[in-house]
């Protein structure tokens, strides 16, 4: 955006500098991700190759097979070479049979060489070609569903369901869609992000949310397809990739046509104490799959503002968005797939809080003009006074409408009290509808005067973001995270959950999925062989 088109008088050179610094900070992380892999990346390869199901104890076969390979030959060459080699030499009908024997310790894996390796590679590529064909078909199906129904105008209204029971979630989601929701998010069970496996099957019990499983994805998508046809409007489905199983959940989301996925580059590190290396490696692979599947990611910058002060920490949001943009684009996501997040979390006690919110929201809008920005409602200052909360949510809706936000997560007056009642959702949607009807054109007339409060504030936040990015660039991003730059917690690169699942790729490492995702030309050869 040029300074002429900017409502905030942003200096285009400073915007360019900010992007450049984000690249400088992010590139070493990308290099690390390209030379390493994780157990979850390897399990995602098997999932894309069609390995589903779990043993009697509920542990998925992908975990059993990857663990078995790791304990025998090691994973440094990737799971694919030993697995497809054993599949052929052992005469197994499929990966599930192999996994079952491997779990019982009855398979002698090796890293094949010569013709054995060539055969294993060819077989793995053929299996992955089928997996990616399935993902491509889902993407095409989304396009045709949108054509058959319609694509709702923005801002998309985003509503959450979270009962813990997928069979309760479904009617609630359908009701929410009928009441006007364009996007349904199914909140996950507390702590799923820390499970190093993806649960199986339809689930009816969860803690403050419903488990993300392939079957739950399928059931909800099918139900929303029915409702989309009924309403003549495509209702999008969202779930969460963040956590220890990002790559696998991304694969399942692509296979079951989810439309948006929470996928932040640092959320797991800061808020869940997941190892930074594990997170960045998993994140890159998962985003490559999202890119292929045509899924919009949602990043989690709103979380920073729930732990730190929303005025003091405003620039950390911008820094994280720039990093998420760099990592996302590097992984192949187009601008229309970058649902960068931010939030309306300034204390209502602060003078001019609404003007500050407008400055922040407009800044993000101008920095990322083509991104489907996701704007989150107040949570921190929702006190239990539901009447005051309803008013605050109206101001949030107004800021969202005035600054052209793309996805509005609908605020609930009962935030922090209980999971929303039916009536809470209905009142919240009434609030959004009123504000959009009353102030839909107000954005055009929102022209902050040059040098005025709003412009100055936006320029100040951008300058602070550039300063922080410069510091991160010289310290290194992993060191900056280790020093507690984001959130208020220190997260050293050699600590946190899931580090034991990270390994360096050996010479000759083979990942048939990465071939499709990194370099479409190679993938073409793969399909031929």
């Amino acid at each position: 955006m040029t300074s002429q088109g900017s409502k905030l008088g942003l200096d285009p050179d400073m915007v360019r500098a900010a992007r450049h610094l984000a690249r400088v900070a992010g590139q070493p992380i990308v290099d690390m991700a390209r030379s390493h892999s994780t157990v979850s990346v390897e399990r995602a390869v098997l999932r894309l190759a069609g390995l589903d199901g779990a043993d009697d104890g509920g542990m998925p076969w992908v975990n059993r097979l990857v663990d078995a390979v790791r304990e025998t030959t090691g994973l440094e060459h990737g799971v694919a070479l030993p697995a497809w080699d054993a599949l052929a030499t052992g005469g197994y009908p499929g990966l599930a049979a192999l996994a079952s024997d491997a779990a019982a310790g009855q398979v002698k894996f090796r890293v094949p060489e010569g013709e054995g390796a060539a055969a294993a590679r060819a077989a793995a590529r053929a299996a992955l070609a089928r997996g990616f064909a399935a993902i491509d078909a889902r993407r095409a199906q989304r396009e045709s569903m949108i054509g058959e129904t319609s694509d709702p105008p923005r801002p998309w209204i985003y509503l959450i369901v979270a009962t813990g029971d997928i069979y309760e979630d479904i009617p609630q989601a359908q009701a929410a869609a009928r009441e006007g929701a364009d996007v349904i998010a199914v909140i996950r069970s507390t702590g799923q992000s820390l499970l190093d496996y993806v649960p199986e099957g339809a689930t009816r019990e969860g803690f403050a949310g419903t488990y993300a499983t392939r079957e739950n994805f399928r059931l909800m998508r099918a139900a929303l397809d029915e409702t989309s046809r009924e309403l003549g409007r495509y209702v999008r489905l969202t779930n969460y990739a963040s956590g220890l199983c990002m790559p696998e959940i991304a694969a399942l989301a692509g296979l079951e046509r989810l439309d948006m996925m929470l996928n932040d580059c640092m959320y797991g590190i800061i808020f869940r104490d997941i190892n930074p290396r594990r997170t960045f490696i998993d994140q890159r692979f998962s985003r490559q799959i999202h890119a292929r599947a045509g899924i919009i990611i949602n990043t989690g910058e709103d979380n920073y503002l729930t732990t730190a002060d929303a005025v003091d920490a405003a620039h950390t949001v911008v820094v994280s968005q720039l990093l998420n943009e760099f990592f996302g684009a590097e992984a192949g996501l187009a601008d229309w797939q970058l649902g960068l997040g931010h939030a309306f979390e300034i204390s209502p006690e602060v003078p001019d809080s609404f003007s500050l919110e407008l400055a922040h929201a407009q800044l993000v809008r101008e920095l990322f003009p083509d991104a489907p920005l996701k704007y989150m409602p107040p949570t921190k200052h929702m006190t239990g006074n539901v009447f005051g909360g309803y008013l605050l949510d109206a101001f949030f809706n107004l800021a969202g409408v005035m600054t052209g936000q793309s996805i509005l997560l609908v605020g609930m007056m009962t935030e922090g009290i209980h999971t929303p009642f039916l009536s809470d959702r209905d009142l919240a949607l009434e609030n959004v509808r009123y504000v959009a009807r009353a102030a839909g054109q107000l954005g055009e007339n929102f022209r902050p005067p040059p040098g005025g409060f709003v412009q100055q504030r936006a320029q100040h936040v951008l300058a602070e973001a550039v300063g922080l990015l410069r510091r991160i660039g010289s310290d290194g991003l992993l060191n900056a995270i280790g020093d507690g730059t984001f959130g208020i917690t220190r997260r050293p690169a050699d600590a946190g959950r899931g580090l034991e699942g990270v390994f360096e790729r050996a010479e000759g490492y083979f990942n048939p999925a990465a071939e499709f995702l990194e370099d479409p030309a190679t993938a073409g050869e793969g399909r031929k062989s």
Partner: protein, 251 residues
């Protein structure tokens, strides 16, 4: 009945006026349906002691539900002398107050070690209390500037936990126990107490959905938290026990 006796106040002493909103699973479409819905709302209000009551707003939500806002006169009296206030051994403080009391009371950060012990792999509870992400709208203990949190995760051996607590100079050890088969949570808590001995040990805090909070002394630990505990309650307790009356807390 000793009084004083009071009623809700609308705009006149003794008018008893209250406001209430709720949803009933009834349709609000046809004229007849609307009449039935409003009648149902008034019947509920009357049974709740609101008489007379007035439906000031009714709105259908989808084909099967109606939302109501009702005003009415509460027929009940409140006897202030019968109000019972639950006494808590420690006050629940805000995050800022907790940090301040640590700074002024100890002059250094509190070191908190957390773990699930034995074979228990359910870290949901300990993570809800410790992770920044937190629980029930409250940030976890990692959020507190004056606390240093070391979360050892699942399946930690109690001897290792005691050694680590000594190495980290932990002020408090938090253990969550979810598995209750064959009273594993009670056995675990006792093992924890035994591993630390009685002298010069950190504060031992145990939590889990099936614990009886009154059993702390019997199990040899300092404090037990049950279902629904929030991070701020735990933080408030730690501040109370570590900066308040340490001798009493560890007796």
């Amino acid at each position: 009945m000793n009084g004083p006796m009071i009623r809700p106040y609308g705009d006149t002493t003794g008018d008893g006026r209250v406001q209430l909103s709720f949803t009933l699973p009834v349709p609000f479409g046809t004229e007849r349906e609307r009449a039935v819905a409003e009648g149902a709302a008034l019947q509920l209000a009357a049974k709740m002691g609101l008489e007379p009551a007035m439906v000031v707003h009714a709105k259908g939500m989808g084909p099967a539900f109606t939302f109501f806002i009702v005003y009415g006169r509460a027929s009940h009296l409140v006897d202030l002398s019968e109000v019972v206030v639950a006494e808590r051994e420690f006050p629940v403080l805000s995050a800022a107050e907790i940090n301040l009391r640590i700074r002024s009371g100890l002059g250094r950060e509190i070191v908190v070690l957390g773990a699930c012990i034995g074979t228990d792999a359910h870290t949901v509870g300990i993570d809800a209390i410790l992770n920044v992400k937190g629980h029930a709208g409250e940030k976890g203990l990692e959020y507190y500037r004056e606390m240093r949190v070391v979360n050892l995760g699942a399946q930690v051996d109690v001897a290792d936990l005691a050694a680590r607590a000594s190495a980290e100079r932990a002020d408090a050890v938090l253990v969550s126990q979810v598995v209750t088969q064959r009273d594993a949570h009670l056995t675990g808590a006792r093992a924890l107490a035994n591993a630390f001995g009685t002298r010069e040990r950190p504060l031992l805090v145990v939590g889990g959905p099936r614990f009886d909070p009154t059993m702390a002394a019997e199990l040899g630990v300092d404090k037990i938290f049950g279902r629904g505990t929030t991070p701020r309650e735990v933080a408030s307790y730690l501040v109370h026990a570590l900066t308040g009356e340490p001798a009493a807390a560890r007796a």
